[in-house]
């Protein structure tokens, strides 16, 4: 350790203390990176192995004869509970839930941020403080009240069904989950957008008002097009959170065909019949993780773009 702590000083061997420092620092970083990436590596290699190879070989070894069979099996044949139709149905369940939930919560957050910074009203700080407070409520504590609310909404849906012949999606598990995620995502999305719009030049809003743009025209034509960086940040954050959510998913859509991916994955892994097919489980887990990875890869580059450059001043 003394080598690390001592300041740069040439040693007799000709290698400076600085170089040694670098080696130690990067060595440690590499070590932690390997440690962190190890599970991913094991998952990935295991998902391409046959069961024989898994039972007889080394966990860390590369697959001898790489095969995509576990992936196909996980996608189309793996048993979730009693049905053995793979996880593909549940994958689409998750997509159908995540996409609307992310878009609605992000757009509402943007609208909230816009109002809280550019259309201030008496008590706007209190409203914002309460929304912030929502970010820090432990979700376990809202499970039961929310279940009651969802139950009421469901009963209202049945009434509507009887009266009009159409229930408008009320009572549907996917709709329920979208609702829950929008409500609990709103605190964070509002926080993100409010802080971004706080620095947004108010003169642009004034100019648009003089130009005759309405409240929503300003939002759509001026605010949103200039919110790309924060929009992407919020989408990534919301997508990852909602996609990975297990608590709400298992509480409100924990059985049958409506399960989201996370619950289904849990059920695949916990199946008690026959041999545990590690390769299929690993492939299923990888499939479950892919969308969030994809969102990062596709949208991550917008993080660094300064789209506001040149908006005002020189």
């Amino acid at each position: 350790m003394s080598t690390v702590a001592s300041p740069a000083r040439p040693t007799s061997s000709g290698i400076s203390g600085r170089t040694i420092n670098r080696i130690v620092i990067y060595g440690l970083l590499a070590l932690f990176a390997i440690f962190y990436l190890m599970p991913l590596f094991v998952m990935l290699v295991t998902s391409f192995k046959t069961m024989d190879e898994i039972q007889n070989g080394n966990m860390l070894a590369l697959p001898q004869a790489p095969t995509f069979d576990p992936w196909w099996k996980a996608w189309g044949e793996a048993c979730v509970g009693l049905t053995c139709a793979g996880i593909k149905g549940y994958f689409w369940n998750s997509i159908k839930m995540v996409v609307p939930a992310v878009l609605i919560s992000t757009l509402l957050g943007a609208l909230n941020g816009y109002v809280l910074t550019k259309w201030r009203f008496r008590g706007h700080t209190l409203v914002f403080a309460m929304m912030l407070f929502a970010c820090f409520i432990p979700f376990q504590s809202v499970l039961l009240p929310m279940a009651t609310i969802l139950g009421s909404i469901g009963r209202f849906g049945v009434t509507l069904q009887n009266a009009t012949g159409f229930n408008f999606g009320l009572g549907n598990s996917t709709v329920n989950l979208v609702f829950v995620h929008v409500v609990y995502g709103l605190g964070f999305t509002t926080l993100f957008f409010r802080n971004y719009y706080e620095a947004f030049p108010t003169e642009l809003i004034k100019a648009a008002q003089v130009d005759g743009a309405s409240f929503f025209q300003i939002f759509r034509r001026i605010m949103l097009p200039n919110s790309m960086p924060i929009f992407v940040v919020t989408v990534i954050y919301q997508f990852t959170n909602i996609w990975n959510d297990f608590l709400f998913a298992s509480a409100y859509a924990g059985t049958g065909d409506v399960m989201p991916m996370t619950v289904a994955l849990n059920n695949v892994v916990n199946t008690s019949t026959g041999v545990v097919e590690y390769n299929v489980n690993m492939a299923a887990a990888m499939i479950a993780a892919l969308p969030t990875l994809l969102v990062y890869v596709v949208a991550g580059r917008y993080f660094v773009r300064g789209l506001m450059a040149g908006a005002v001043k020189g």
């Binding site: 004034k206 008002q209 025209q217 908006a311 005002v312």
Partner: protein
Amino acid sequence: MAFLEIDGLKKRFGNVEILKGINVELEKGGFLVLVGPSGCGKSTLLNTIAGLENITEGEIRVDGRAINDLHPSKRDIAMVFQSYALYPNMTVAGNISFGMEMRGVPAEERQKAIDKVAKVLQIGHLLQRKPSQLSGGQRQRVAMGRALVRDPKLFLFDEPLSNLDAKLRVDMRIEIKRLHANTGTTIVYVTHDQIEAMTLATKIAVMRDGEVQQFGTPAEIYNNPTNIFVADFMGSPAMNLVPATIGGNGSGLSVVLQRDGREPISLPLAGATPGLSAFQGKPVIFGVRPEALTDPEGAERNASSIATADCHIEVIEPAGSDTFAVTNLGGKAVVARLRADAKIQPGTVTPLAFNLTKAVFFDPATEKRIL
């Protein structure tokens, strides 16, 4: 009837009165400049005309119609902002035509209007660029184009030149003046730069602490300031304001200026304002602009009242076009403006000519002009 009338306008934020009863009028085609130090309420006043801020009391009329309860877009105004406020996501053409688009003007008409404005402001080659790809001067032009294209009743400019460098500022100032002369539009213009105010305005309102200190033509403001604040604020270098006393003998009044270690200067006042006789033997503030204090050869020949006095020159500042000489009167540094080639040395005693027809006097207690 004036084209723009602001009548008893008051604006309060809670208990704080930002604008304390503003009364201003502007004829059609006039150029009103609101000038004052920062925090005087000039930008707030402009925003209330634009409708971006509500007023507490009073009325704003344009062309005889009260507009103070209308939405900004219904007031038939256009505004150029200090930061230009160009929409960063739109091209220059998009920026210029956004207002027309919001008002539902058909695309062909918008295109015609864009082309016309682009020609006037010579920004035709920039139309497809984004604001981030423009220089400061170009952004300024686009911001003006956005205002011009709508052909509104009233143009509002909020310190439009303060983000430009010194040379560009002078160029754009001339351009705005030319634009005003060519189009005959009515303009209200906010600035803290008194030179901009003097050069552009047909009417100036000098403001301080939410009140109009003086409202008049640039010449009135410059030559006949109503109080010490206006006299001091307008003009560069600033007016010399020297503590003095009014003396008198049988033939007339005179102004007496004290000097360190030398006998006081006494300047006879021929044809002095009547109010001054009440101040005989009392202290006043004697105001004289640097150009009214010069070498005897350079003094205005047709001025009716010129008095010459020997002054001790402390510092010489050659500025190229003029030479400024600093002397000490009444305990204050006093600047005299001499010809560039005036032969004058610091540390010497030189006669200086006071053009007393241009001199003004203020009551030290009220800071108001003695008339």
